[in-house]
Amino acid sequence: MNWKLPKTWLIAAITLFAIASHFEKSIDPYYFDILISIGINILLGVGLNLVNGYTGQFSLGHAGFMAVGAYTAASMTIHLGPWMAQWTGGDAAPFLCALIVGGLAAAVTGLAVGIPSLRLKGDYLAIVTLGFGEIIRVVFQSMESVGGPRGLAVPTQPSHYLFWTFSSAALCVYIIVLLVNSTYGRGFLAVRDDEIAAEAMGINTTKYKVLAFVIGAFFAGVAGGLYAHFKQFITPEGFNFLRSVDIVVIVILGGMGNTPGVIAAAILLTILPEGLRAFAAWDALPDRIAEIIRNRMILYSLLLVVLMLLRPQGLFAGSGGIARRLRKKGAGAP
């Protein structure tokens, strides 16, 4: 395998985003919003895929880490932003700092949540992470210094947002692809396939699980920071349980442990609700059907059900390992 290739790809992608970012002002705000949401969802999906897909630990609290990143990054911009902007003479450096600090704060939270909860497996782990996610949300809800339930406004939106969002997403994809394709990173897959055997082969399974959790949380934190500065307003409600479920759906639809699939699913699931909105407004549609489609979330859910029935192994998974494993498990279930 040519190791230089991924680096070249990363640099090419970031350069492309930097160039594209110069034209972002000419993009219609509606489409721009969708575009940035896609980038954020890629970050969330690919990050969670390391935990749920590659390492096989079912986490349902990803939105909690996003919240930590969002609030930390927003607070940094509010309190330190103007001061830092004066020093550096631009909005790029303070924004970058806010994103990184937001990611680190989320990673530390991930560590604190991961160490006790990763002793559990499967459904139990899902419930515990769900609980932690909700705890994080409630903590922000009761913190008056960040607006409590009223939410927190972020004063500025940095320029070249397209560049920041998609470069972060590209970096996230790069890191996770490189990680799982190294001998070291094969440990994640080994933990997923058989924890007892992995342990017997000298793999510290706890370390791997916590590491996956921390990396996933870091990128969720970065995604949160991007979200906060883009929307310029965040509330604790925006990071509730349903947000976590959205991310899990991206991972499952994309195919657990299949990064290209998860990216595709992140794009598809961001566009789909908006596409349905446009479809429902189509004149040629008979009234009765339009009425059903106007309630587009019904159709959205229905499409998810159909997709899951047709491709339970995920959009892009061919004869990949996890698909086979799931089929086998299904066949062996009592």
Binding site: W3, R186, A197, A200, G321
Partner: protein, 257 residues
Amino acid sequence: MNPTPQPLLELRQCTVQFGGLKAVSELDLTIHQGELMGLIGPNGAGKTTAFNLITGVYKPTSGDIRFDGDSVVGHTPYAITGRGIARTFQNIRLFASLSVFDNVRTACNMHLSHGISHALWRGAAFRREEAKVEQTVGELLEIFRLNHLRDVCATSLPYGDQRRLEIVRALATRPKLLLLDEPAAGMNPTEKVELMNLIRFTQERFGLAVLLVEHDMRVVMGICQRIAVLDYGKKIADDTPEAVRSHPKVIEAYLGE
């Protein structure tokens, strides 16, 4: 057999108690460098418990386990593997979604000097190490005639090959002692003969000590230099195959009075 001054593995008066049941009771067991030893006993005699004791899955209620001169009591299973004890499983536990090659490659994990930062930066040191792992794995697969299947998914191999792959994977951790948990389970007579040759070959080729837990008498008697017999958690015999075969207590345990 000439006992070397220091045994490789030594269990001293090990007891494992589950509630009121002593699964293993005051067990003494020694294995020397390069020895092929068998551990047999009727169902429920405590063979698997003894096995789990050595690999660190259970902690002894009392007693001491020394490996290569140091006590390994209380160490985690992966740390014990790190010290040089590798194992296979009775019900094959290969990594189902990984290829044959990756299954073995994963077992090289703990000998890597690089960590996460190397894997991300992919500098010269990382590439050198990765190439070395690739070579080691390739050689191991070549020795065990699995190299032509390296990109095949591990669980799609035939049963005998899966057993072989489990042994290869265990060897990739560079053990001094290899524990085989009922490797002949579910095999037909031809496969058993192949397995016996394989175990003998592995032991000689890599200069390992091997502890074999097995039900099948023919396999154990055929290849082991020394056999320990467990019954109700107690060791009732520890001798050469011939002596064990005619040991009155062993006959009693297997056939009844």
